[in-house]
Symmetry: C2
């Protein structure tokens, strides 16, 4: 590259991936975007990025390939499917995998890629779209020293907080799954508590005020329960995300012969919400499932997906 700038491919330009691409551009990376629907790629090009038609094309000549898809299956497809990135990545380049997945999948994908002389950083993310766009999100990362070294500039461009969690792929994904177990249960129990409070005749705005100032508070209660108070279920994060993530927790739980009764009970509530047609609504829609089961009336304004 005549510019001498590092080049980053970003595969998956959803609300997180697009923001990460913007943060990389701000960090002086040359950024190539690739996405299933072309609109996000066109938008990125208008902001000074490049576009590619396949992961293979995007990864060609890249120093860093940042993969921001939904799960292990999609990540495998991006790497090893038709038009996959693994073939065109130059030896010594690094693949940063942001999708939430079980640690065994991380280890397996890393082993396959590293056998070909490329590096793999297990790098799940959190913090939401706004922090992704401002370069302030959190990245939980584990990988070989070489994978970390090759990812260093990109990590600094994208993250406000970087947790270094081990010298191989796997632990970072495990930390993320532990976080998702807690987050998923916290949203479900917050929903249980709010709907029960409504059944008991309590004022929900007052419940929000008292609980957020008390020992029963959680990050998720504080962040998600305004949906229930206002009755507006526009999704920031949808029910289906926790159908997926608590599903992974259950798979891990079964494989390890480790019982997780609370995560299991919470998963059933997300399944009930999805089954009732709320899969794309805000995850706090679990409260509506409780209300429907018990004949309780909650505030409701709407639940349609916001235009991006």
């Amino acid at each position: 590259m005549s510019s001498g700038r590092q080049r980053a491919a970003v595969i998956g330009l959803g609300s997180m991936g697009y923001g990460m691409a913007q943060s990389l551009m701000r960090g002086q990376f040359e950024v190539v975007g690739c996405n299933i629907s072309p609109e996000a790629v066109e938008r990125l090009k208008e902001e000074g990025g490049l576009g590619a038609a396949s992961p293979a094309e995007a990864a060609e000549g890249a120093d860093v390939v940042v993969c921001v898809v939904v799960n292990a299956e999609q990540t495998e497809h991006v790497l090893f499917g038709p038009g996959g990135a693994a073939v065109t990545m130059r030896p010594g380049a690094v693949f940063m995998s942001a999708a939430t997945m079980d640690p065994e999948s991380s280890r397996s994908l890393a082993a396959r890629l590293e056998a070909t002389g490329r590096y793999y950083l297990d790098a799940p993310i959190s913090g939401g779209p706004a922090k992704a766009a401002s370069g302030q999100m959190t990245i939980m990362a584990s990988g070989t020293p070489q994978a970390f070294k090759a990812s260093d500039a990109a990590l600094n461009a994208m993250a406000g907080t970087i947790y270094r969690l081990g010298d191989a792929a796997g632990p970072a994904s495990a930390f993320k799954m532990i976080n998702q177990l807690l987050a998923g249960v916290h949203i479900a129990v917050a929903s249980e508590a709010m709907a029960f409070a409504a059944q008991q005749g309590l004022d929900l705005a007052k419940v929000y005020e008292v609980i957020t100032g008390s020992a029963g508070n959680s990050w998720m209660f504080e962040n998600r329960m305004p949906h229930v108070v206002s009755g507006d279920y526009h999704p920031l994060s949808a029910i289906e995300i926790f159908v997926k993530d608590l599903g992974i927790v259950q798979d891990m739980s079964r494989a390890a012969r480790f019982p997780t009764p609370l995560a299991g009970a919470a998963l059933q509530m997300y399944l009930a919400a999805a089954g009732a047609g709320m899969g794309k609504d805000a995850d706090a829609s679990v409260a509506r499932v409780y209300a429907n089961m018990a004949g309780v009336t909650l505030p409701f304004t709407n639940a349609t997906r916001k235009k991006k």
Copy 2:
């Protein structure tokens, strides 16, 4: 009283009640203490308080009777049992009930007492012994305007935060139960997550660091999980507290025909802990139940009750 000071009776000088008595003395109340075991009464007298042998004796001439016992049954006994306070309280005095109980019990006790011309403030507490002693705890209160007026000086002496939650007994207890539902589930799921993290081979101190900085955090995770990291289960709050409180939640749930599957699953874990002999250990001992079920080793130093 020649001093012109208000007089408060404090029934139940446990770790919360004793601190509340100290805060009332600091607030210029003349304080009479009453407790099942005499040591706490003797200690209060050394600090300038008075002692009484029964609730009836303590309540005689009191402007405010603060009752800090464990549950509705004990509260009823303090009011209406042999040597109970209801008979000797002067008309116009107020009974402030701090025990955690279901709202129906609060309404019933208030109705019985108020029929005799005394006032009843439904006034559950939170914040722990240190805040009780410094006059900084939280009081969730509901009751008639007269009950609030008669409690005003005592509330200000004891609480840093006072939530005014309605003009009759009942709602304050309901708010407290909603808080306990969340708190009980949060400790149980924190225990589930920490023990699962140990099974996955993660460093628990690092899990604590990552989760307390992430969206999976809760007030209880942050407050209780140091027990699991260090392996020291000295009780600040014991397993039996949540056997009791989630038991009340289940009673309310059954009476209301309102399903609470997460609170129900958490209760089973506290029962498992109590059944395994950990009833008086720290509530984070639920993590040891998970570890025992799955053959996982957690740090363990001890679990004996600290000398007071």
